[in-house]
């Protein structure tokens, strides 16, 4: 797909470029906020898996400009380097590492966060069960840090894929939050499994003291939390049935707002020039293989 055909196929892609967002996903957070007012009155914010930074851009614009909170603090964490964003402290680090937590807490002056979000997703392999497992691990990693830093009553938002075991995750989250909603912004394609969990009202598990430690798996981290995770190592019997719940589904964004599945005709002005993306894609791991292919070094046989 060329630059301009993608503009036409995906109206949000085009708009993001026009409005200076680093990725179209900015609209997803904006639409989630429109629906749930999740960004209202928050001061200390953690944006996990933040690169390229469109959610941090939204948070920065909302907290500093719209809400005029000069003392707000936004921390963006990612393993990848990120272009700086005004008012956002970027940390290139692993979200499962205790030091990362420590760093964020230092920036917050020891105060807990009001809001933690994660728009992260791994590269998919195409093997659905594996991809869904890895995505669930990513969410649990974000949730680990969240349980260590989020204030009671705080909000956690994360990207999910509504695959086969999503009801297990809903059930586990429902132990930790007053409300767990599955939200689908209109800017997220209807053909994609992507949606967002909006977890409102963090309720720390009584008697459980979450502590991030090096070399502790997510499974071990949540062991004492008693959130209905099946972890039977006694005789290794299959947990069946498991605790599964369906979260309330809410489509957000105005029905009259543009639809990410629809094809739009560009008005004649914008048709003239296809816009360059705001943020160029980062170097993929297979960059060398591509270069070799280009040079003809990849002999077929």
């Amino acid at each position: 797909m060329g630059k301009s055909s993608k503009d036409k196929r995906d109206i949000y892609y085009r708009r993001a470029k026009e409005q200076g967002w680093r990725a179209r996903s900015a609209f997803k957070l904006l639409q989630l906020h429109d629906e749930f007012q999740i960004l209202s009155g928050i001061k200390r914010v953690v944006d996990l898996c933040a690169a390229p930074g469109s959610w941090s851009q939204v948070l920065s614009r909302e907290l500093y400009q719209n809400q005029n909170q000069p003392d707000a603090k936004i921390v963006a964490v990612d393993l990848q380097p990120m272009m700086p964003i005004e008012g956002v402290t970027t940390i290139q680090a692993d979200i499962t590492h205790p030091k990362t937590l420590q760093k964020i807490l230092e920036i917050f002056g020891g105060e807990p966060a009001d809001f933690v979000c994660s728009d992260g997703a791994p590269d998919v392999t195409g093997l659905h069960d594996l991809d869904e497992y890895i995505q669930a691990q990513l969410i649990l990693s974000a949730l680990q840090l969240t349980t260590c830093i989020l204030k009671p009553g705080g909000t956690f938002v994360a990207k999910i894929f509504r695959g086969r075991d999503i009801d297990l995750l809903y059930s586990q989250l429902s132990y930790l939050f007053e409300k767990v909603i599955c939200a689908k912004p209109r800017s997220s394609r209807g053909t994609s499994l992507e949606a967002f969990i909006v977890c409102i009202g963090y309720t720390p598990r009584p008697g459980w003291n979450p502590t991030l430690e090096m070399n502790k798996s997510t499974e071990e981290f949540f062991e004492g939390a008693d959130i209905g995770k099946a972890g039977n190592l006694k005789f290794f019997d299959l947990p069946d049935p498991e605790e599964r719940k369906i979260a309330k589904f809410i489509a957000c964004g105005d029905l009259n707002d543009v639809d990410s599945d629809a094809t739009y005709t560009l008005d004649s002005d914008s048709k003239v020039k296809a816009l360059d993306p705001v943020q160029m894609p980062t170097a993929p791991p297979y960059k060398k293989a591509l270069e070799m292919k280009r040079r003809g070094d990849l002999v077929r046989r």
Binding site: S5, L127, I134, K184, G190, N215, P285, R300
Partner: protein, 1031 residues
């Protein structure tokens, strides 16, 4: 969400659904002795290979896990036990029991609390499980009683619990237990289990590690990653020895060869659907790619593989297409024989002139001779057993006749080669056992006068009674010459010469010929995809053209014509066109002796050029060139039989096919590349074992839509069309036992598929992105094989079409079909499609809103016709289009829909599934949405007014998007959703009731269709695979 509890619609009366057949990703493969153990979704299959006959049989097939796919299979040291694992599940089974039992086996599914990367036996009674956080669970699995109580002996880690994508366990002879862990982002960790010590941390790769193995001797390690390279390390030193580059995308699996005596060899498979064999040479920092098999699976991804280079001499691969294939290592080891032309000429005693080249070949298999002619008129006999080259003794004036021109053909059954001079004279060379020099016979031309020969072709009738020699000349006023010869004790004699007046057109360049013995018709193929027919039955010696069919398809040259079925006054031919098109064409003669031509099957190969084709035991075999290599392709089975990197089509080449002593088809490809004669032989080791395809599958990409034919065929089956995101449509039969048998993969679409539906018994239609909407006509070949041809194509409205045709509906009218198409930009169009003229006339052209329309249906209430749509805005809308249609009949004017009669929001966003059922005086409408909910509504008509009423609403009808709804009898229906649960719902007293909910291993569950007969419903569910169910 404050109250605790279970999802009420996750598992309900599961026994109501009976799984019939499953076709989906093969994610685990292990060769053990003569057995191949395969994980096909939740099903474990075991195949047995007979070493002598190469026949393969299925000895076991049973679902072992409730939900999880089998990712790994490992056998205990004694071979008595086998462990399978996938997701969090594992099972320890008795292999002897699996192989020998004919009954269903009792299986106890076990689980841990994490994703399992791999598992291995430690002795017979202990098991090591590596979990996705790089931790080993050491288990006592000695309990063999039903219910198997296993005990955790130890939990072991190396204090580095990074999340893993891949890993393996290697038990060395010295007692060391090594864990190779491929992490998501920080390279490869090799650690020793007993000491818990990290031996190596290999960081040469970039990106996630998808495979890592240690060889049996503990000398080498291999790994592959997102960076598309394979790295071989010295195990003791942890030093990178060599890197293999070549895969075009991610590599999923690596295996060491078992034979460790020579060079280290590795097999790799990946996303690019290739299998590659690599060789390591000391001091070469690049791994050498020794073997490449391309397109071994359809679509994308070879997920699993194993190799046995010692005993069975095969490698086996499993793909996202659900297929399992055996690849022969015996014949692949044999390299192409090559002889430089200098050596050929020298051995033949020819003092070759400058630029003398070999221009034609003919193979005499019974003598093992390859006869070659050169540009200087020399003829060389290549004895392929003795490896000798001998010049055929010709007088110098004879040789002179073939300088720079000499077309060579022959008859293998007669060991006779025939050469044609530029002037049309023929030299017959008859070879015999024990004599290298042939007998010579000349047939001198008396017809061509000053004209030159452009083509020389030979044919024999099916009774081998008449041999035909055909000569073509460019002057269309000069007739073609057809000579008939008879063989008497192997000796050919000319019995008759027929002059065929050329078609009256300036250029008719023949490219292939065939004789239909039943009717005595000569059929000629030519350039511009044109066929000509001559009737030889009159016995006359001067004949006029009987029939010509011009420009039968897009493309240029017909490369082959062969007879596939012949009856009185009717013949079917297979025609291949160089550009990649192939056709089944019926030529028939009616009572008035008039000829008719009907193309009843038309398709094209997805890439490459076709040089020829044949039908072999109901398999369509095509061959030709794809960029720089030559291929032989089984189009029916969709697999490559052999290929050869020869440099491309611009060279002298010939393909010879013959049956070997076991009745299997062998191929010999002879070509010149870089002044060297190359002879590549292919032995079809598994040809009679379904070409090594031991488990059949489906598309290699997600299936977007499927449709079951309304027609019940004579064998109890129905046609099933499946359309996948990669633009292919497959034409299948759905058998009464739920088996899906594929016949064709149709490649006409060029963009991602959206929908496929039957318009009637005879026609189906398909829609895709880029405004593609095609109507196809179905037919039958030999009464049992379904065939099809694209019948009509809707012209896109825009020059640069970028709209998706999201859905369509149709109904029959006197001259064809009324068709509604809906688009991703909210456009709604209604067409009048005339079957005879194949024309589409636009009746209605309108827009709904600014969203994407997802579905459309015609609803007929008495004399009124309504149009219903559902869209991404969660609404359904209904218009009365009776006026639009009648207005069009009168004035031929395109109209708009006007105001909708009904516009009702049902769902929060996209209406993905919709079923309309006609009841007495009303219609039932069931809708399912992206919002997990299911809604029951009714449409009634009173006093000419339409009423839409919602009767019931189930908010949590699924835990994820509902994607499709199909009927299951009068008041029941089946609903699919992305949570991989299929549910049967019933309408009872105006309420929705979930009768049954059962898990399906088909991920991305997105489409369904069903057929109900006598209370029994058979449903087919599609997604990342396809499965059939009865309920």
């Amino acid at each position: 969400m404050s109250e605790r509890g279970f999802n009420a619609v996750s598992s309900v009366n599961e026994e109501i659904f009976t799984p019939l057949n499953h076709y989906g990703p093969v994610t685990g493969l292990t060769i053990y002795k003569k057995y191949i153990l395969a994980g096909n979704g939740c099903i474990l299959k075991i195949f047995k290979v007979n070493r002598e006959t190469n026949k393969v049989s299925t000895v076991f097939s049973q679902q072992v896990f409730k939900r999880n796919k089998i990712h790994n299979i490992s056998v205990s040291p004694s071979g008595e036990r086998v462990v399978v694992n996938g997701g969090r599940s594992f099972a320890v089974l008795n292999l002897t029991e699996l192989i020998n039992s004919t009954d269903k086996i009792r299986i106890t599914e076990k689980a841990i609390n994490e994703w399992i990367i791999t598992s291995e036996f430690l002795g017979e009674n202990q098991l090591l499980i590596l979990n996705s956080h790089n931790t080993i669970y050491h288990l006592d699995v000695s309990d063999k009683e039903p219910g198997q109580k296993f005990k955790l002996l130890d939990t072991i880690d190396c204090n580095e619990k990074s999340i893993l994508y891949s890993g393996s366990i290697r038990l060395l002879d010295d007692g060391r237990i090594l864990i190779a862990a491929g992490t998501v982002m920080s390279g490869v960790l090799i650690w020793e289990m007993n000491s818990k010590r990290i031996v190596h941390n290999l960081t040469e790769h970039e990106g996630s590690i998808f495979g890592v193995k240690i060889d049996r001797a503990g000398k080498y390690m291999i790994s592959c990653s997102d960076d598309r390279s394979i790295k071989l390390y010295d195990f003791e030193k942890g030093q990178l020895l060599a890197t293999g580059w070549g895969h075009g995308s991610r590599i999923w699996n690596l295996e060491f060869f078992k034979d460790s005596t020579g060079n280290v060899r590795i097999m790799s498979t990946g996303e690019d659907c290739t299998v590659r064999i690599w060789k390591f040479e000391t001091d070469n920092e690049l791994l050498i790619q020794e073997q490449l098999w391309e397109n071994v699976h359809r679509g994308k991804h070879v997920w699993s593989g194993d190799i046995d280079d010692v005993d069975l001499q095969v490698c086996v691969t499993g793909g996202a297409d659900g297929r399992i294939r055996l690849h022969d290592l015996v014949s692949s080891k044999r390299s192409t024989k090559d002889y430089t032309l200098d050596i050929v000429f020298e051995k033949a005693g020819i003092k070759s002139k400058k630029n003398e080249i070999i221009i034609e070949y003919f193979e005499l298999p019974s003598l093992n001779y390859l006869i070659m002619s050169t540009s200087q008129g020399n003829i060389i006999v290549f004895d392929q057993v003795q490896e000798t080259f001998t010049r055929v003794e010709l007088a110098s004036e004879e040789t002179e006749k073939f300088v720079k021109f000499g077309l060579m053909k022959g008859f293998q059954d007669l060991n006779t080669v025939i050469l044609c001079t530029r002037n049309g004279s023929l030299l017959l060379l008859k070879f015999a056992v024990g004599k290298i020099q042939p007998e010579k016979t000349w047939i001198n031309d008396e017809y061509l006068q000053n004209n030159k020969v452009t083509n020389f072709m030979v044919e024999v009738d099916e009774n081998r009674s008449t041999y035909y020699l055909f000569i073509d000349t460019p002057n269309h006023k000069t007739p073609f010459i057809l000579r008939e010869l008879k063989a008497d004790r192997g000796q050919l004699t000319l019995t008759k010469t027929i002059l065929l007046n050329q078609p009256h057109q300036t250029s008719f360049t023949t490219t292939d010929m065939v004789i239909d013995s039943t009717n005595n018709w000569l059929i000629l193929g030519s350039r511009y995809v044109t066929l000509a027919v001559y009737d030889l039955s009159s016995g006359s010696e001067a004949l006029d053209l009987q029939f010509i069919g011009k420009k039968l398809s897009s493309g240029d040259t017909i490369t082959s014509v062969s007879i596939i079925e012949s009856k009185h006054k009717e013949v079917s031919v297979l025609v291949t066109v160089r550009d990649g098109v192939y056709m089944y064409i019926k030529i028939s003669q009616d009572e008035d002796s008039k000829f008719h031509l009907n193309i009843y099957h038309h398709n094209k190969v997805s890439r490459g050029f076709i040089e020829g084709g044949l039908l072999e035991n109901q398999n369509l075999i095509l061959y030709g060139f794809k960029s720089s290599y030559f291929y032989v392709w089984n189009e029916t089975k969709q697999l490559e039989i052999t290929s050869e990197l020869c440099g491309g089509s611009h060279r002298q080449w010939e393909l010879f096919k013959y049956e070997n002593h076991t009745g299997e088809m062998d191929y010999k490809f002879v070509y010149i590349n870089k002044s060297t004669l190359n002879v590549k032989e292919h032995e079809g080791r598994f040809s009679s074992s379904n070409y090594g395809l031991i488990n059949d599958g489906t598309h290699g990409r997600e299936i977007r839509d499927l449709a079951i034919s309304p027609e019940l065929l004579g064998d109890g089956s129905r046609l099933l069309m499946t359309a996948s995101e990669d633009t292919t449509i497959r034409l299948n039969k759905l058998h009464p036992n739920g088996t899906i048998e594929n016949f064709w993969s149709l490649n006409n679409h060029v963009s991602g598929m959206q929908r496929v539906k039957f318009l009637s018994k005879e026609y189906f239609a398909s829609s895709a992105a880029n405004e593609e909407f095609f109507i196809w006509k179905l037919g039958k070949f030999k009464d049992e094989i379904p065939v099809t041809t694209e019948y009509a194509r809707l012209k896109p409205a825009s020059d640069n079409p970028d709209l998706r045709v999201m859905d369509f509906d149709s109904y029959e009218y006197a001259h064809g079909f009324i068709i509604a198409t809906v688009y991703s930009n909210s456009n709604i169009k209604i067409w009048l499609f005339d079957i005879n003229s194949k024309s589409f006339q636009l009746v209605v052209d309108d827009f709904y809103a600014t969203c994407c329309i997802l579905n459309v249906n015609f609803i007929r209430f008495g004399d009124d016709i309504f149009l219903q749509i559902g869209a991404t805005d969660g609404h359904i809308a209904i218009w009365n289009i009776t006026q639009n249609l009648s207005q069009f009949t009168i004035s031929q004017t395109t109209s708009t829909l006007g105001k909708s009669l009904i516009k009702q929001q049902l769902h929060q966003n996209g209406i993905k599934g919709l079923l309309i059922k006609q009841l007495k005086n009303k219609f039932r409408i069931v809708t399912g949405g992206d919002d997990n909910s299911l809604i029951l509504s009714e449409l009634t008509q009173k006093n000419n007014q339409l009423f839409f009423e919602t009767l019931d609403f189930v908010e949590e009808a699924a835990s994820s998007t509902i994607t499709s709804i199909c009927s299951a009898g009068e008041d029941s229906f089946i609903v699919t959703s992305v949570d991989q649960i299929i549910r049967k719902w019933k309408v009872s007293n105006g309420k929705l009731e979930c009768e049954s909910a059962r898990y399906t291993t088909i991920a991305d569950t997105g489409c369904s269709d069903s057929v109900t007969r006598d209370q029994d419903t058979m449903a087919v569910i599609g997604g990342a695979g396809v499965s059939s169910w009865s309920c």
